[in-house]
Symmetry: C2
Subunit: 186 residues, 2 copies
């Protein structure tokens, strides 16, 4: 029976689809199997089959950590996906460890915002890099978050810089699985 | 095709199931159709059919507002569902308005914890009333939250008192739809 659940997006690694996979790099933990292409489908009913290498699902949500001053800055440069010039993309699924999830909301916020400056770092790259966060943990998926970024060929180095800075933060010490998939629009 | 999504619970209003429906009261907004019984199924694939009056789905998640001192208090009296003496229950689906969801995390926390004392009020009833919160908004359901409470016959008035106090808070001004379903174990 097909489910009627809405707001679930499936990222499907397979041999066809609008995105060519340039590389799949395991940063920490178990990797993802090789796949030549990827499709993004707003449909919960896509299942792993002999034609797919992996299917990862997530949903968009309200902002869970951002405060008002940060929100004002974010709203000044809204993230727009699908811009024609943004022909490069990165798909980075992440799983944080049990220790992270045992922290309370205020403790997680302190590590993210104050100690790691996650929001502050990200804000500097808003105009160059469009992004969308998908949540996976709550629906029992193997990753906690699926992060999706789009950028132009000129901004590939800017993106590498952003990711480099984020991986050095205190917050990233809680990441126990991370795979970095780079893609190019066909 | 059946979905493999885990951690989704379905609350099913129908003519059979382990819980007898005692009453369905619309507190605000659109109600729910009458149903003589209810079942709770940890299965995403239950769909509305001619045999069901309604199917509401949600997932459990990490605590999104609680700070460490509050968590310590909560952990001292963990909520245990399914106690044999808790033969009465309440199922209260809630939808908050757009204004609530435009607030940032710190603003929602301030209204809940400081102005409304939601957590403080709830804490006083922990030993008498077991409860579990399910999230629905993120999966595109018609309600934002499904709240489930279990208590003994002796604690029915205590539960009414708890709900009365919560409905008087500033937080409840953001509730645009609420239905109060009372149940008894068969």
């Amino acid at each position: 029976m097909e489910s009627d659940l809405k707001n679930i997006t499936s990222f499907v690694g397979q041999s066809y689809g609008p995105w060519s996979v340039l590389s799949i790099k395991t940063i920490v933990g178990k990797g993802l199997s090789l796949s030549s292409s990827m499709d993004i489908v707003k449909d919960i009913s896509v299942e792993k089959s002999e034609n797919t290498n992996w299917v990862l699902k997530g949903f968009t949500s309200n902002l869970r950590y951002t405060n008002r001053p940060e929100k004002i800055v974010l709203d000044q440069q809204p993230s727009v996906l699908g811009k024609p010039e943004n022909t490069f993309a990165a798909f980075i699924p992440i799983k944080k460890n049990a220790e992270w999830w045992l922290l309370t909301q205020d403790e997680r916020r302190k590590i993210m915002a104050e100690n790691s400056k996650h929001i502050e770092i990200g804000t500097k790259y808003l105009s160059a890099i469009s992004r969308q966060l998908f949540h996976s943990r709550d629906i029992g998926e193997e990753f906690d978050f699926l992060t999706w970024f789009e950028f132009s060929p000129n901004n590939r180095e800017r993106f590498d810089e952003l990711i480099f800075l984020l991986r050095k933060t205190e917050e990233w010490k809680y990441v126990e699985r991370e795979v970095d998939v780079r893609l190019k629009k066909k």
